[in-house]
Amino acid sequence: MSLADAVAPPRPKTGLVGRFPVLAVLEYHLVAYRRTWRSGAFSSFLLPLLTVVGFGVGVGAYVDAGVGGVPYLDFIVPGLIASTALQIAVGESTWPVLRNFEWVKIYFGQAATPLRAADIVGGHLAFVLFRVLTSSLAFLLVAGLFGTLHSAWALATPLLVLLIAISVAAPVFAFSSAVRSDNYVAMLFRFAVIPMTLFAGVFFPVESLPVVLRWLAYVSPLWHGVDLCRAATLGLAPAWSVPGHLLYLAAWGFVGWLLARSQFRRRLVI
């Protein structure tokens, strides 16, 4: 009997998940998150509260002049929203990715199913976006309660936060899938995340930096996110063009996505 006789008709693809397998991957990550979301939800309110009170109210009390006429608290809240998005996006794109390749090997189990590398990266990235979005909404709520939102454009902040998240999470997925040990994660935080948080305009305007550092801030995705968020919550014009910011962040996300997808393929299909 020939091989062709063994061919059964392809199985019908039913439901949303059948047509978009990436959703099944997202669903797995959400099911796994269900175990820890309570503590996560608590800290996603606590973290903004502590930072707003500590930096905004505490440090702000010594910054009488504000920044460019804006009270210090109002100045740093949008920066903190953007930098928190960065921290969560990077945190969720490093250890969990290493875990799924090196320690628990979830990705290899997924690769044995009809899922393609793009579904596996895409579903996990979608979960990272979900995490960043929910935490930012909590932050935004706290920020609103402190009266730091001055424009209806603040409603656009969640979208901006998603853009920041994809612009860093996608390239960090590529990074995390290329390294074999979490020592590299520590280096990523030390040499990229912490300097960005400190010098990309979150706590003070980048104009106060020497020219070389200022250009490093301009290159970092965070500065573009901070500038956009600040424009949105204060209702002021950003320091650079809005389409320019959006395209720059989208470019980081797009190139990161291509790199991550090809790196995942290299690891999963050998």
């Binding site: 392809p10 039913t14 797995y28 979830i106 690769a111 044995a112 009809p114 899922l115 050998i270």
Partner: protein
């Protein structure tokens, strides 16, 4: 579970249907050739084994069949499809039980099965039903709600086997299904796999346990250095590459070699090991009498049936491969 449905489906396509066909299949990693041009036919409903020492190319072959490793050369067809082109469609109909479990230790046993079922586009309700049936099948129904982490190795392996069946696969691939399990757990896994085989599910497994291969496989190939060195049913291989019986003689002296010369002509083949001498013979008792007739007095004598292990060691040598 409804493996019974599956049995019907597989029986419907006659048992001489070839599900997996490899011709001159090659896998290279850089300069290293893991699989060096093998020909394999796996038919519907049979249990097919890849036997060989570590590094023989078994797992590389399994990964190519599992469509997670594109062949470097040769031809491979699985259910009439080409893994290079139809990977997702083929994988949709495979069940894979990998060498090391990759369950999520934080999730419950049931969640591991249901989330996995979703990757195949199986509706949630069906996924829950199948998970319950399959956990019954692997005798873990009462652990459905427990997290995977504290489970024993044998239980995890059974969860992995249940997970591999969640999409009602046409072919189940098992890479060293009982490696690292204690004897009780091994026997339980064998018994479940035997049940699957009875129900007509096509099993493809790798192993370096001879008893596993003899118990489960209808047909097997012995691989060594990326090539197939023997092929056939376990019994046929034993007949072809070994004798019916083996006599193990242990002499009191330090050097067993001294006695080898005195045994010449008593067996089809004589093998001298550091602690004993093996005589490969048709009739063990006759050979023992002949040994005594030559006035040799071994400290111990054991007559046993030849096993696949004798074939395996004969074909792949006794040198340790790590």
């Amino acid at each position: 579970m409804d493996v019974s449905d599956q049995a019907v489906r597989v029986d419907a396509v006659a048992s001489d249907t070839v599900l997996i066909q490899a011709r001159g299949l090659v896998k290279r990693f850089g300069d290293f050739t893991a699989v060096d041009g093998i020909d394999v036919d796996v038919r519907a409903g049979e249990a097919f084994g890849f036997l060989g020492p570590n590094g023989a190319g078994k797992s590389s072959t399994m990964r190519m069949i599992g469509c997670v490793s594109p062949p470097t050369g040769g031809e491979l067809q699985i259910m009439g499809m080409d893994p290079r082109r139809d990977g997702p469609a083929i994988r949709a109909r495979l069940g894979v039980c990998p060498q090391s479990d990759n369950l999520d230790p934080e999730l419950t046993v049931q969640e591991n099965l249901t989330t996995y079922a979703r990757y195949f586009g199986i509706p949630r309700r069906v996924a829950r039903e199948r998970a319950a049936e399959l956990l019954n099948f692997v005798q873990l129904a009462e652990r459905a709600g427990s997290r995977v982490e504290p489970l024993s190795g044998g239980m995890k392996r059974r969860v992995t086997i249940a997970r591999a069946l969640v999409n009602e696969p046409d072919i189940v691939l098992l890479d060293e299904p009982t490696t690292g399990l204690d004897p009780q757990a091994r026997h339980l896994v064998w018994e479940r796999l035997f049940r699957l085989k009875q129900q007509g599910v096509t099993l493809v497994l790798t192993t370096h346990y001879m008893d596993e291969a003899e118990q489960l496989c209808d047909r097997l190939v012995v691989m060594d250095g990326g090539r197939i060195v023997a092929e056939g049913a376990p019994r046929t291989l034993i007949e072809r590459y070994s004798t019916r019986e083996v006599v193990e003689l242990r002499f009191a002296a330090d050097n067993q070699e001294d006695f080898a010369g005195k045994l010449v002509g008593l067996g089809e083949r004589i093998e001298v090991l550091p602690d004993r001498v093996l005589l490969y013979v048709g009739d063990g008792d006759a050979a023992v009498s002949a040994v005594h007739a030559r006035a040799l007095t071994p400290a111990s004598v054991l007559v046993r049936r030849s096993s696949l292990e004798d074939v395996f060691l004969h074909l792949t040598g006794r040198t340790l491969v790590d």
